[in-house]
């Protein structure tokens, strides 16, 4: 058993694909035929077998390819990974969390053995077998946060909690939807959310911060967020806008099914025990329109959501340029019948 890891790329020839099983487990984010912000936070508990929630930290068929892409991004731009000096302890917290969860969920691929503070970590998909002293940074090839997040899918923001606020003081961010750790580092919760339209007026961030600062050890929470990306690029950073921005002008009625991808972020929120910090793993899932519309319910619903999205939101999510083409293409798959409630395919 175990996962069959795909050989694929997220740049140049874009060979990224989802297998049929992975299409069905895609975390489709719309539970109704319209979308508006909500503080859609719920407890992060284990979900159905075969879903992305089967384990609290998900590892899937894209793991090896994503880690290779992360290494390429870091080689070009080391500032995608930063940790302010007071965040090293939180980095050890994160290392423990990710090693524990990956070893628990995927014992055929990962093994963690502890003998006091002498730990051995085996990562078979990446060919790693390291022994180190927990808490002693000199025994690892990188700092603890960088070491483990080079081996974990998704981006990671580690937040310090003080003065009733959260501060983005460390992170590994290489697969982001057009924001930058190097710009946001050291900012508090309101500062880094400043560009988001409509939500401030609704008081969403004030309520969300209150919820997050009360996140307790042993009780993680989660939410879904989404956007769209042209071509299956993981790295859509502001630093590389010149590479991916022009892609938005390349969508045509002929290629929309292959080029336009729904990008869903499963964000989870965990209290870290030693540092009392909070970590947000932001796990990115991509699916191209051709794959998504193999589930008729999703095709009908996505058509209605994108068609009726407020302009401010469409603009913020970068869809404006290709939205008419996409809506026209999706409309042909919408027979007007009702969609069932809930996220899953029929």
């Amino acid at each position: 058993m175990g996962i069959t890891f795909r050989k694929e790329t997220f740049r140049d020839d874009f060979t990224f694909r989802n297998s049929p099983e992975h299409i069905r487990r895609f975390p489709f984010p719309f539970h109704e035929d319209a979308y508006m912000y909500a503080v859609n936070i719920e407890p992060h508990v284990v979900g159905p077998k075969g879903s992305v929630l089967e384990n609290l930290i998900d590892v899937d068929e894209h793991y090896v390819a994503e880690m290779q892409d992360r290494a390429l991004v870091l080689a070009e731009d080391p500032l995608r990974c930063q940790s302010l000096p007071h965040m090293t302890l939180a980095g050890w917290d994160l290392l423990e969390l990710l090693m524990e969860q990956q070893a628990l969920g995927y014992p055929e691929h990962f093994t963690l053995t502890r003998d006091g503070d002498r730990w051995r970590w085996i990562n078979r998909p990446l060919g790693i077998d390291d022994t180190f002293t927990f808490g002693d940074t000199s025994t690892l090839p990188y700092g603890p946060m960088e070491y483990i997040t080079r081996q974990s899918q998704g981006d990671f923001c580690i937040l310090d909690q003080r003065d009733g606020n959260l501060w983005m003081d460390a992170g590994m961010v290489t697969t982001q939807a057009d924001w930058s750790l190097d710009f946001d580092i050291g900012m508090n919760f309101f500062e880094w959310h400043a560009p988001v339209p409509l939500a401030h007026e609704k008081g969403i961030f004030t309520r969300a911060l209150k919820f997050l600062t009360n996140i307790q050890q042993g009780k993680p929470a989660r939410r879904l967020n989404w956007t769209m990306t042209v071509n299956p690029r993981l790295d859509t950073s502001p630093e590389n806008y010149h590479k991916w921005g022009p892609d938005r002008a390349t969508v045509t009625p002929e290629n929309v099914g292959d080029k336009v991808h729904l990008r869903v972020e499963l964000q989870s929120f965990w209290r870290l025990p030693r540092s009392n910090g909070i970590v947000f793993p932001i796990r990115c899932y991509l699916i191209k329109m051709d794959e998504l519309v193999t589930q008729p319910k999703w095709a009908r619903r996505l058509h209605r959501v994108i068609r009726d999205l407020p302009d401010e939101l469409a603009n913020y999510k970068g869809l404006t340029r290709f939205r008419p083409t996409l809506v026209e293409w999706l409309s042909k798959l919408d027979d007007g019948s009702a969609t069932s409630s809930g996220f899953g395919p029929d």
Partner: protein, 321 residues
Amino acid sequence: MSTGTTKLDVVVSDVVPVNDLVTRFHFRRRDGDLLPTFSGGAHVVVEMRDGQRTRLNPYSLMGSPLDTREYTISVRRDDVGRGGSLFMHRNVRPGLEMVISYPVNLFSLDLRAKKHLMLAGGIGITPFMAQTAQLAGEGGNFELHYTCRTASLGTYADVLRERYDRRIRLYHDDREERIDLDRLLSTQPLGTHLYVCGPAGMIGWVRDRAAALGWPAETVHFEHFAAPQPGLPFDVTLAVSGKTIRVGEQQSLLEAIEAAGVDPPYLCRGGVCGQCETNVISYDGKFIHNDHWLSEEDHRSGCKIMPCVSRFEGKSLVLER
């Protein structure tokens, strides 16, 4: 029971008298596993089954965060309090199975600090036991000033002196020793953070002097050990659950809500964390706000109450619970 924290099933592994007023309790997990890691300054809420009544009191973890085979707390007996500490002293024996919450930290170290200056009064020493152990393990720079009534009531003063020597300064009330606070606060290096835990009067004094001497508020950290105050009984209607309840003289509003089978969130049970904040739908009477969470404007508005510590006097009160 609560929607606020996850629970741990523990057994009392030891009960150790420390001095005339203070007893230390040790907990281990019933399944023999390690307890969750925690950070210096964290507390747990201990559930006490006292006959028909469940008491829930928060106590700081005072062991080293580097060793989670057991948790230790120290309880100061309060003979005129509401009975939680007396229950701990009289009824809790080794072998007793109890339920405690996961650790929660509302008094966290600021790890950016170049130096940690700690001021403790009386039983307020307990969170500093864990914080100093954590900082000593990491080579952190700290200095602790500890005031107690008499040498014999200087809980763990001997332990601290032995562990940390000159980093610990002791002050005894009966010898009329007093912290020279202004001098202490005006001679600290830049980047020092100040932590104070003890009686409300001491916290107020330290915060006021720090503010007067120009310390930025975000460098001054404090933890109240405020138990709910008793008061006149009053009646409350819970609109969402459709219940009318009476809050007894020695009972907090939060405890009365819990006793009625409603499960509101909570973390600190001391009026500081904000978790149990409740909307007031209507009232005819006067609030006695004892919390440190709501703003003065919130207090005046009559729209919100913190049921863990605050009370009410008057004809009617309807809450959104």
